[in-house]
Symmetry: C2
Subunit: 386 residues, 2 copies
């Protein structure tokens, strides 16, 4: 496969954008992305688009993106894969360039969660995203769904609710410096532990907020990268992993096989190991999911994620800084945008331009997990081409 790099990235602030529609958020992310291409890029150089959109369900998303960005002359494909949508959209863009069909591809992720096309509430919408035969009768909307896993994880591992709280505290702390983050305030472990319960064992501060937002990256084939920047960020690996939908079919609730599969595929493609990763954006839709993911991604041994937390290794300055952006927990989580926004953060990290810069970061990993814990996408980026 020919090599592919990110040559520009941008994102909107994540938040409750009641005053902005998805047709506003997409151009905002695109404009910043283009402005961040060092040597400039004209719209006519973009040859195809992959668009990650999950929840907005407002008309024909691909056509709306093409129209909104005045890109009706090129193909636009919508990719949807639950909360793994963003990184799967990037994966599809990378494969398309690797095929030789295109040299320059735009990947956009966007969602409006705080208002939906149907004017349904978020939870009405969330209920409808569940399989009607398998999940819906069990009430397995996202918090309940992930709570089943984390309850068992807390039972089998030495990790406690305090460790979960320490993840929330860390992500809120990181978000303080991120002007794009939705929740820019510090919290304490004590505050997290006494917060109202959302779905046991998750209190309010264990949960990502509901967010609107958009993010965009421009991918370029190695043959043309020099036209756009002297500091590209190479896409070294992409991986997508699946699992069974029904929880009664999952053989072990304390690990997410989709993450293991996606990470294995991406690492194999990159020729790298978890030890090579300097910084990661991990899908912390719930704090306990970040803990389990440390293990699934190979950053910690089985049931030892809590050790990273106790050693503060997951902070910027630690051995494996996780979510320097603030993560889904504090930066926010518009599902289609989330994975693309993770790659925006890593683009800045690997160019040494991030707000919470990880010194000397050369390899970054972005991770999503979604649906009924049934899909995960992992992207591995590096300042080194190989």
């Amino acid at each position: 496969m020919r090599n592919v790099a990110i040559v520009g990235a941008g994102m909107t602030a994540f938040g409750e954008h009641f005053d902005l529609g998805i047709k506003d958020l997409i151009p905002m992310a695109y404009a910043e992305c283009v402005a961040n291409v060092d040597k400039g890029i004209s719209k006519s150089e973009v040859q195809a688009v992959w668009f990650g959109e999950l929840t907005t369900t407002d008309g024909s998303p691909a056509a709306i993106l093409a129209d909104t960005l005045d890109l009706t002359g090129i193909p636009v494909t919508r990719v949807e894969n639950a909360c793994a949508t963003g990184n799967d959209a990037i994966r599809n863009g990378v494969l398309a360039i690797a095929s030789g069909a295109y040299d320059v591809v735009l990947v956009v992720g966007a969602d409006k969660v705080r208002e939906t096309a149907t004017n349904a509430t978020f939870w009405e919408w969330a209920g409808l995203t569940r399989d009607t035969a398998w999940d819906y009768p069990l009430g397995l909307v996202a918090p309940a769904n992930f709570a089943l896993h984390v309850t068992r994880y807390l039972h089998e591992s030495p990790a406690t609710k305090e460790h979960m709280a320490m993840v929330a505290v860390k992500n809120h702390f990181h978000a303080l410096n991120n002007p794009k983050a939705q929740l820019r305030f510090e919290i304490t472990v004590e505050q997290a532990l006494v917060a109202p319960i959302i779905a046991d064992p998750f209190g309010l501060y264990d949960c990502t907020p509901q967010s609107d937002g958009a993010a965009a990256v421009i991918l370029a084939a190695e043959d043309v990268v020099d036209r756009y920047t002297d500091s590209p960020v190479w896409v070294r690996g992409v991986g997508l992993g699946m699992d069974r939908v029904m929880h009664q079919h999952k053989s072990d609730m304390t690990t997410f096989p989709p993450t293991v599969r996606a990470a294995k595929a991406a690492m194999s493609m990159a020729g790298l190991t978890p030890r090579d990763v300097d910084v990661a954006e991990v899908h912390d839709c719930f704090t306990g999911v970040e803990l389990i993911s440390y293990e699934d991604l190979g950053f910690a041994s089985r049931f030892e994620a809590y050790k990273l937390v106790e050693g503060r290794e997951h902070y910027v300055g630690g051995s494996i800084p996780i979510n320097p952006s603030g993560g889904l927990k504090a930066k926010g989580h518009p599902p289609g945008a989330t994975g693309v926004a993770q790659c925006y953060e890593l683009f800045n990290q690997l160019r040494g331009e991030a707000e919470n810069q990880v010194d000397g970061a050369r390899v970054g990993l972005a991770h999503n997990i979604g649906g009924p814990t049934a899909v995960s996408a992992v992207t591995i980026l590096s300042s080194d081409k190989s």
Copy 2:
């Protein structure tokens, strides 16, 4: 780009499958697809899946496909692009193989239109697929949307409602021999002309039925095609074209620019011209759309589609047989499945195995148009590798 071929194809009957869910329809199409691989294929040889699904919105479609087919060990991406979903899913599968990442890819298209996850009626669902700011206030669900175009087309071209009726008569006639078709009965021009009006100028027989169904194809890289068949059908070209969403922004209502763009891209990739096409499956969601598409695809000159109809050139046996399967009009139209099912028909045609066989067919074209006439996908297949 390395060459890609279809080595197996299958589909369910299209119809009102009130007794079957999407979890039944997907395995049925997959089973027939696998059975049609001449030299056999084991599930473990499939390396990735692209899934086209538009309307069912039942949980996480990609995860449900992976679970239903017991393919949780490989990546599954859902592609959605309005009624162009099926052929865009094939396009994505082709690009993925061309990239070198995979040698064998499954593409499935499926939808349940007659029952939706929300238990909403079809038209409630159809309303929600419209952009809420741009289309919804205008009531532009599909028949109204396409009727605006065809009304103008009938005004500017010599074509009449009789020509539209003759398209319906032809597609019903072709469907008679197709055991998978939903509407297997002949109609007359007179019947069509006096049928109840759905959205002027479309009467009942100008409109596709609402359908449930699934279709599947297996794509293989040229390097491994011989393992599976000695009669592959090569994917010579894929194209995807977009347009503006709002009708007041369309400069000419008598042509569909997305089709022109998608066809140009696919023809260019294939190194072929419209004259090379021996048989085509054209997106006849409404009869007038089939007429306009003859011109957009290059089978007829501007405003001269009616001449093909009057000369019966669009029948099997004519110079450019269109929709030997019965088309959307009489075979049925489960949107996500439609494009994949078109390629199933062409797979059979180009191997000389179709029910309404076009003698000596070597090049076939599949065409979708969808959304607010804002997206089109075209796939060009051939029994010849180059």
